[in-house]
Symmetry: C2
Amino acid sequence: MMNALESASPSSERAHTTGDFAREEVALANRNSGLPLEALRYDVTPAGLHFLLTHFDVPFVTSADDWRLEIGGRVRNPLSLSCAEIRTLPEKTLRVTLECAGNGRVNVVPRWQTQPWEYGGVGTAEWTGTPLRHLLERARPQADAADVAFLGADRGFDAGCEHDYGRSLPPALAMDEDVLVAWAMNGTPLPPQNGFPLRLVVPGWYGMASVKWLRRIEVLARPFDGYQQVGNYIYRQKRDEPGVPVSTMRVKSLMVPPGIPDWYTRHRVVEAGTVEIVGRAWSGGGVPVVRVAVGVDGTWNDAALDPLQGAYAWRGWRYRWDALPGAHLLECRATDANGDTQPLESPWDAVGFGNNAVHRVPMMVR
Amino acid sequence: MMNALESASPSSERAHTTGDFAREEVALANRNSGLPLEALRYDVTPAGLHFLLTHFDVPFVTSADDWRLEIGGRVRNPLSLSCAEIRTLPEKTLRVTLECAGNGRVNVVPRWQTQPWEYGGVGTAEWTGTPLRHLLERARPQADAADVAFLGADRGFDAGCEHDYGRSLPPALAMDEDVLVAWAMNGTPLPPQNGFPLRLVVPGWYGMASVKWLRRIEVLARPFDGYQQVGNYIYRQKRDEPGVPVSTMRVKSLMVPPGIPDWYTRHRVVEAGTVEIVGRAWSGGGVPVVRVAVGVDGTWNDAALDPLQGAYAWRGWRYRWDALPGAHLLECRATDANGDTQPLESPWDAVGFGNNAVHRVPMMVR
């Protein structure tokens, strides 16, 4: 199929580059939406400000009435369930921070040409659904179940491979009480772009695991080999090595850039005096953030931490900065309960996954 | 102030270019959100899919309770009104298509470096508010009123000029029954990024006139000279000429690209056979679209038009394409009741405003 695609119009070769950005990267940046960092002020990201990465097209689904979720493969009791049937199962709401695995990619040098996230590929929402295990328990996986695949209604090509977007989870994680099949976001039905009418939410993992527009669950006797599982979302030093699958989020923090911006450069100016710097920090796998340090021109001090908001949501932090006139560099750096700390420089990854380096904001104080 | 900003970190010089894209352009594309073209299928764009252009930061306003709208300048009765007071005025809901004046900028060669819109800077919403005239009638403009300025709570720099975002309308237009001070979008309070708690909506005009986070209305005895009025949003052949202010939207159409996409290139593939191509078309100033033609490999035929959705909303259209295997070029081209038709090539503008050239989608049929 890639031959047919390439003849439709000349395809840009993707490459590692340190140069300016290709039109394809810009077009992806326009389609996909980053959280504007000033929206870090909200505990729960308002609808439409949460980051959004759509691999293919947003499926056009105007009613949940005709949607069916199929559960098949290595199960004793294959199911085809309506949304109404799924909503009769036990309901749970979780506040969850999701980050795109590629967030921060533009700071990984040389960068791989794809969605060019700077910092905004993150957001926090309250997801309401039923724990996936209630569906799996009814489908009764067979003894040889080795993997559970989740397939969405979004279809397209990547690297010449045509596929429905799909990802898998190991059976033990799929049975975790906090992995949800969700139908609501922030108390309202899922917006189309966030997976209407049903999506998976895998707290603590990078966003690629939380399959949107969920249409089929397939229990497998072997590891799932879909493109997004084995050809993408892999930490690799070189693009042609097997690598290590991307899974839980790495510890990270971001700040609300103080002051006011310039339209084009986004350079920022703030008034001299006491400036309260606020931000958010999170980690993966349910591990809490236990420390955030703020750097001012290379001198680090601890920020005050807000209370935790459950096991899976970002944690607020604040720091009083006595801002003196002149140019300054602000940084923030989180540490989680495992003792993992953000690196000072972007870790190398061939496709720019998992970049959790400290957030740096140059400032002018007047 | 620009000196201070520039010393905060090295500023990229903005320029006309035919080259690849600067990081500043990519960062703007991430912050600002385009409509994914598949969402043209919705009569009313769902929340979070409407285009969004934020010049500075989204103001952090958590409650409408403390918001005041000031009305002053050349008025006999200066006002300071709460949102609750404004909501007692006569209410009106209008379905309005808003397009960013810079939409299509990347196809204007050489392009000016700023938000690099491809096609997605457009959306349609149902705005509920009160006609602005009810406020102005209570404030009673003086006889010498020559312009009415609208100032938002968003502040920053552009081209070295620090300002609150502001735009003006001539008094006669400000008294038009369809210019709204709106508090709701699609039946719910304005989302933060769309102007909470109050915004202006100027139907038929490019989006820059619909000032968000509306905080002050100033009646002036002279033309408003704010940066966004006299330094930006001007049609110019060269950047240093006075030019002509951008106002109403030009006639335009876009299609939902058929088939399925490639992740990176967005090249598209569709199955051979009958393909229904659908899209939207609109014009400015309340002028209806009366014709849409679809081009297939340079041969044009009329599309069927859906009913009008009021004076200010885009009009649906559809066309049955007998898709034969191979590479094809699809185009769409609208004409309005004034006889204005989309140009085949992008009209020159020094900052890329008002590009209403035909939409072209290369396709591969298999």
